[in-house]
């Protein structure tokens, strides 16, 4: 079986990396791209060596599955559209910008009998997989505290538009670490406190954040989602986690497998990864899910629970007190 895949919007740059992954794999085929922005869609189609579709219904009639890389607030309409056409969905994170939309997406896919997977590719980073194995084998005993960061440069574009993105740094960078922790420990977040502000970039959207949280088993967690890496930073950002257990500690720096290039011509220092491609892992897993007809590795519910934490952070910052999660 060759799984036929299409893109519903490539507004999110990750689309290009997913496209490369699809093109590099056997067992799947990139059918085409629909994008409401025709120019962007056609340009993307050219770069990925595929076709542009002006009508999403036409694309969906030729695909088994779609990847939704639209702006966050449009995930719902595209997911519902895909479900209506019986296509499985891989949706970029965060699942949506409201819990209502997230629930509607989960329901729509369930009703249509299609699978909904959320793109948390960090779960497929090799050192992250190692951490999962170590925790499962009890290598550091019972986990007591986790200190996480997902700091980055300011992504710009629609990411800084509250209507389209649903929020700034906190919306963009909270969900990865929250998802990893839920997956690592199988525990839910029960309280969220946050300081959130716009102090670093002239965008009017939050770029500084600090979250302090608790899991149902009393594990304490902090997470820094700030867009606090300057333009001169040698890489886009990081995902780090310090995990303190009763029997030891793990320091994870998920994207630290780099060499450094000092480039005089462009007056730029940059870190280049030599790690395995996490997006390849994500796409491979998505294809496998369809072929084997199994449950998604990362479900819509996972996406919803991560979004819940990000939204609670905004509420906490407004109320200046911790917010309890059901």
């Amino acid at each position: 079986m060759v799984v036929r895949i299409g893109f519903l919007s490539i507004a999110h740059l990750h689309a290009h990396s997913y496209g490369r992954a699809i093109n590099g794999l056997t067992g799947c085929r990139l059918v085409g791209i629909y994008d409401p922005d025709q120019e962007r869609g056609m340009q993307g189609a050219k770069e990925m060596g595929t076709e542009y579709f002006a009508d999403p219904a036409e694309l969906l009639s030729q695909t088994d599955a779609v990847i939704i890389c639209s702006e966050n607030s449009r995930h719902r309409e595209f997911t519902e559209l895909a479900a209506k056409h019986g296509c499985h969905v891989l949706c970029e994170k965060p699942i949506a910008t409201t819990l209502e939309d997230a629930r509607a997406m989960i329901d729509a896919c369930a009703r249509a009998g299609v699978k909904l997977q959320i793109a948390f590719p960090v779960r497929f980073v090799t050192p992250v997989l190692r951490v999962k194995e170590m925790l499962d084998s009890g290598a550091v005993g019972k986990v007591l505290a986790i200190v996480g960061t997902n700091q980055g440069q300011m992504p710009g574009g629609w990411f800084a538009d509250p209507e389209l993105a649903g929020g700034g740094a906190v919306m963009d960078h909270t969900v990865h670490v929250v998802d990893l922790i839920r997956w690592f420990l199988g525990k839910e977040f029960v309280s969220v406190y946050a300081e959130v502000d716009n102090m670093l970039w002239d965008t009017g959207i939050d770029d500084c954040g600090m979250l302090s949280m608790e899991l149902e088993d009393g594990t304490i967690v902090t997470q820094d989602p700030s867009w606090s890496r300057p333009m001169t930073f040698p890489t886009w950002g990081n995902v780090t986690m310090r995990i303190i257990g009763t029997q030891g500690m793990i320091d994870l720096d998920a994207f630290a497998q780099n060499f450094v290039v000092y480039d005089d011509a462009h007056r730029k220092v940059s870190e280049r990864s030599f790690a395995e491609d996490m997006d390849l892992g994500l796409i491979q897993d998505f294809i496998q899910m369809i072929v084997e007809d199994r449950e998604p590795t990362i479900t819509g519910y996972d996406g919803l629970k991560a979004l819940e934490v990000a939204l609670a952070a905004y509420r906490s910052a407004q109320e200046k007190k911790p917010v309890a999660l059901g």
Binding site: I244, T246, K320, K321
Partner: protein
């Protein structure tokens, strides 16, 4: 010549005595410690008077400056006693164990004629001084988010295991995080509110890991992390300051100019070789006396840090936000 008497010849008392050897204009003349072994050590190391109490030390030697290096819960009583003896005082951080003790010291210090300095040594650490200069000069613009880390080494062993008794030490927040609390306050001013978490009370294991989120009146958001481990780890500190125009980062593990491996056996040494901050803080104290000025860290400064530390301790205990 300022004659110095060090009270408490434990971990930090020994560091002070050694540092004093580098400080011009002063001389170590006496040590006091309740522990006979510590007294014997002091005598052997420096050949000075080693008394069993501060009182006995003052009887046995002429002292101008009393350097208090006893466990935290004894700071207040010792400082009061030293003030009664009308001496210049240098006292290790934290200022005191409780807010009440701290307030009393602030009151007493107001009318006091001699100098009092508190050992917030991070303000004398070359790297941290340099970072402050960069921030003050506006090199990275208006500051938004700050992170600090301090710890990584094993839960400290002290006299009668006083560190493990929360009522005496105040745990990792009051003992260790307070360094960065003072430093951040020095750079970013007053704190508006604190929300903190700690493993204290959540495990029986001999470790403590704490994380505090601070909001400064200036708007700065800070995340401070301090840790005592239950495995033999390496002590390190890190700080990063993100501003509108850039980012400053420091990690003590990455700025060690020396490493040596020797045969036989395997031994490695690495670490910064910049000026000794303990000597610098004591030099500032000695100069404050001779120049008749305030030392860099006053009782009021130290009270400011104490207030935030105890607010963090309370927040961690109650789960609530504490306004300062």
């Amino acid at each position: 010549m300022i004659r110095v008497g060090v009270v408490g010849y434990g971990t930090i008392g020994q560091v002070h005595c050694e540092a004093l050897q580098e400080v011009p204009g002063c001389q170590l003349v006496a040590v006091a410690d309740v522990d006979p072994e510590a007294r014997a050590r002091a005598q052997r190391d420096y050949g000075v008077v080693a008394a069993e109490s501060m009182e006995a030390m003052l009887d046995a030697a002429e002292v101008d400056l009393i350097d208090i290096c006893v466990p935290t819960h004894l700071h207040e009583a010792m400082m009061v006693q030293a003030m009664e003896a009308d001496k210049h005082i240098f006292c290790e951080k934290p200022l005191a164990r409780s807010l009440e003790e701290g307030r009393r010291l602030v009151e007493l210090a107001k009318g006091y004629r001699k100098k009092i300095g508190i050992g917030h040594v991070v303000r004398f650490t070359p790297a941290y001084r340099g970072i402050r200069r960069s921030v003050e000069q506006g090199e990275v613009g208006r500051i938004g988010v700050v992170r600090t880390f301090r710890g990584g080494s094993q839960f400290p062993e002290g006299w009668q295991d006083w560190f493990a008794n929360f009522n005496l030490s105040g745990g990792v927040i009051l003992d260790l995080m307070i360094h960065d609390l003072d430093y951040c306050r020095w750079l970013f001013g007053d704190v508006e509110r604190v929300y903190a978490k700690s493993t204290c009370g959540r495990t029986e294991v001999r470790l403590e890991h704490a994380m505090a989120v601070l909001r400064f009146k200036s708007g700065v958001i800070a995340h401070l992390e301090a840790s005592w481990t239950n495995y033999p780890g390496q002590f390190y500190t890190a700080v990063e300051v993100a501003g509108k125009d850039g980012l400053i980062t420091f990690d003590s593990r990455k700025s060690s100019p020396l490493a040596a491996m020797t045969v036989p056996g395997v031994s490695a040494q690495a670490g910064a070789v910049a000026a000794n901050p303990y000597a610098l803080e004591l030099q500032d104290m000695v100069e404050a006396i001779t120049e008749d000025r305030q030392p860099l860290v006053t009782v009021e400064d130290a009270f400011g840090a104490l207030e935030i530390a105890l607010a963090a301790v309370e927040s961690a205990r109650t789960g609530r936000v504490v306004e300062i």
